[in-house]
């Protein structure tokens, strides 16, 4: 009797456990669409529980702002369009473990107070936003105070005309451990914008034709940027006030204009910039207040200025870079030099190599007198390509008097590295 009762109890316990687990492991999928029982996303969200999947059928959904406060997965089937109608924010995510994929977001409305975004993640963890399309939104993806999220393979585009009427493609504020990869961003104010972000990884993104910067970050320490491609952005890429930044294998190109930079660095410390390509920027890379940066194995090709080095930048190391066909290789406003140049290749180098070890026997002085003068007095650039300037440059190379005497490369490489 007692034994039978025990088995019953165990059977009951197992059933209970199964029921308990079922609600967690075997979650239900809710189909949303005009042909299904649930017509709107808002309705589906009402009776969805944590772990459910919303399958959104194709169609256009205009439901005003939608808040997601449950840990669910939202999957778009055949690119359903979710519109903010030019007025609202579209998705506001306030739960952890939310996954959003395969949707098309359109026209999140312009709002200066609320910073309307197509998807805003507010104070969440472990969310994934992947393979979505964003068209003409104010902000694209906006992350605030979030951690461990992944933003992968989204295509974000807008055709805003004015900087003030446009938000950023991907915007991060106070975030940690975020991965941003394989995204394409066009026509926003800044392609990727980060402020107060830690330990994040940004790779394989493509930012093009944004109104201001392709990449813009401030106060974001210990982040790494690799294999990204930034081109034809209004002012290139600008990074400021950060430590331990790593930039590798990126391509900065065709940022051409009187206030454009391939990469603008302001107050960046202890960072590594290597194997990047700077091609056809009016200023390849600009250093202001930057200390202890290792700048190696980069290619600087056909820029106006390859490097502009302000006098408040110290102990930066430039080695094994290729400086090829730039109008000015290095420009500086300082008469002293506190940076190191060693073993770079300079296409302007006119020295010789008698012992054939691949290293030129005469040191190279990358700062020409004219680049020095024009850095101090910008209007003097109207004399560019004048015969007088060529003569003066040659005279200065032979007997340096104005340009920083210590700024030289003692081991210039004869061949491209």
């Amino acid at each position: 009797m007692l034994k039978r009762n025990g088995t019953k109890n165990i059977a009951l316990l197992i059933t209970l456990i199964l029921i308990f687990f079922q609600s967690n492991l075997y979650t239900k999928a809710i189909k949303v669409g005009s042909n299904h029982k649930v017509k709107t996303i808002t309705a589906a969200l009402l009776f969805a529980v944590n772990g459910d999947t919303l399958l959104i059928a194709s169609g256009i959904y205009k439901e005003g702002p939608i808040a997601i406060r449950k840990s669910i997965t939202i999957v778009g089937i055949n690119n359903p369009i979710i519109s903010g109608d030019g007025k609202y924010e579209i998705f506001l995510v306030e739960a952890n473990n939310v996954k959003i994929t395969g949707l098309v977001f359109r026209e999140a409305g312009l709002n200066y107070i609320k910073d309307n975004a197509a998807i805003k993640l507010n104070n969440v963890k472990n969310c994934v936003i992947s393979s979505n399309k964003f068209e003409n939104n104010f902000f694209g993806i906006y992350l605030a105070k979030s951690q461990n999220c992944i933003i992968d393979g989204n295509i974000i585009s807008a055709n805003h005309k004015k900087e003030t009427q446009s938000g950023n493609g991907i915007h991060l504020w106070y975030c940690k451990n975020i991965i941003i990869k394989n995204n394409t961003i066009r026509g926003h104010r800044d392609g990727i914008y980060m402020e107060f972000v830690r330990n994040s990884n940004i790779h394989n993104n493509f930012a093009e034709k944004n109104i201001r910067y392709g990449l813009h970050f401030m106060f974001s320490d210990s982040c790494s940027y690799s294999n990204n491609h930034f081109q034809i952005n209004g002012a290139g890429a600008a990074v400021m006030y950060s430590h331990n930044v790593e930039m590798k294998n990126n391509r900065f190109e065709k940022n051409w204009g009187s206030a454009s930079y391939g990469l603008l660095l302001k107050d960046i410390y202890d960072s590594k910039i290597s194997n990047n390509i700077f091609y056809k920027n009016s200023c390849g890379i600009y250093f202001e207040g930057c200390n202890r940066i290792t700048f190696t194995k980069n290619d600087l090709i056909e820029n106006g200025w390859a490097v502009r080095l302000m006098s408040n930048s110290m102990e930066n190391k430039f080695s094994e870079n290729n400086f090829i066909s730039n109008s000015f290789d290095i420009a500086t406003n300082s008469t002293k030099n506190y940076n190191y140049f060693d073993g770079n290749h300079w296409s302007e180098y006119k020295g010789y190599d008698l012992n054939k070890d691949g290293i030129g026997d005469v040191p190279f002085r990358p700062v020409k007198l004219f680049s020095f003068i024009s850095e101090r007095i910008r209007p003097s650039l109207i004399l560019i390509r004048s015969l007088f300037i060529e003569i003066v440059n040659i005279a200065e190379t032979v007997f340096p008097t104005f340009t920083p005497e210590a700024l030289l490369d003692n081991n210039p490489k004869m061949k491209r590295i």
């Binding site: 051409w256 009187s258 106006g304 066909s325 560019i384 007088f388 300037i389």
Partner: protein, 263 residues
């Protein structure tokens, strides 16, 4: 008019046989051919061609022009004994030199450019500016050369003076500009600098071409002010008329001296 054409034809015949003109044409042919075949980057080639155009053409025109008139003194005296107006003779000599010089410049640069088969049509604006300014440099510096050699009876002095004047326009003027820029750097200089450019045909041509190239972006604010001025109709009209004045004024002064000169 008939006589003018005859004189021009004779002069062109005469010059075409001289070593100078052949070397001059060959120089342009070879340098532009070399530049084009070494580089795929047409804007870069055009910048180099601009440098050559703005240094070599004024130099050759002014030196060759001076020597030309000195060498033709016997011919001038002979012609003056005939019933020919002095004005006609003067313009005949002038055009007889300017036409072959300008022609050999245009031929020397355009043939390699066309034969290269590269997409030079994309940069047609720069090329038009390049040819226009090259031809203007020839016209201007030959007129200055004529003025010099008519005023100075002494060959050595005349030649020295023309080299010095070339040096002034090509080099010293820019040095002076740099000093002015340095000295008044705290003031907005842009408008003044635009004014200064009109007093030197070489600088004016250089800026006109550079503003058509993408180097202009390096000039920042100054460049923007210049773009704004030189890309309007007024800017183009003003620069063209300035170049025209530079060609006509020395020529006319030279003519009046030539009319009164006792050979």
């Amino acid at each position: 008019m008939n006589i003018l054409a005859k004189i021009i034809r004779y002069q062109i015949h005469d010059i075409s046989r001289s070593m100078w003109l052949i070397i001059y044409t060959l120089f342009f042919l070879l340098t532009s051919y070399g530049l084009i075949s070494f580089s795929n980057n047409i804007p870069k080639v055009l910048v180099s061609l601009m440098n050559i155009t703005l240094i070599i053409i004024p130099m050759v025109s002014i030196i060759f022009g001076t020597i030309y008139l000195y060498n033709n003194k016997d011919y001038v005296v002979l012609m003056l004994s005939q019933p020919i107006k002095r004005t006609v003779l003067y313009f005949g000599l002038y055009l007889g030199l300017v036409i072959p010089l300008a022609f050999s410049f245009v031929i020397g640069i355009s043939i390699p450019l066309i034969l290269s088969g590269k997409n030079w049509l994309e940069h047609i604006a720069v090329i038009v500016y390049l040819f226009t300014s090259g031809v203007f440099q020839t016209i201007i510096f030959v007129s200055i050369a004529f003025l010099i050699s008519i005023v100075n009876e002494n060959r050595i002095l005349g030649l020295g003076l023309s080299i010095f004047i070339w040096l002034c326009f090509a080099v010293l003027y820019d040095g002076m500009l740099l000093l002015i820029i340095e000295f008044f750097q705290d003031y907005p200089l842009e408008k003044m600098l635009i004014g200064f450019l009109f007093f030197n045909p070489i600088d004016l041509a250089r800026i006109l071409i550079i503003l058509k190239l993408d180097v202009a972006a390096l000039m920042g604010y100054t460049g923007a002010v210049f773009q704004k001025f030189f890309n309007t109709e007024w800017g183009i009209i003003l620069s063209l008329s300035s170049l025209t004045i530079w060609s006509i004024v020395p020529l006319l002064i030279g003519k009046s001296k030539f009319l009164k000169k006792d050979f």
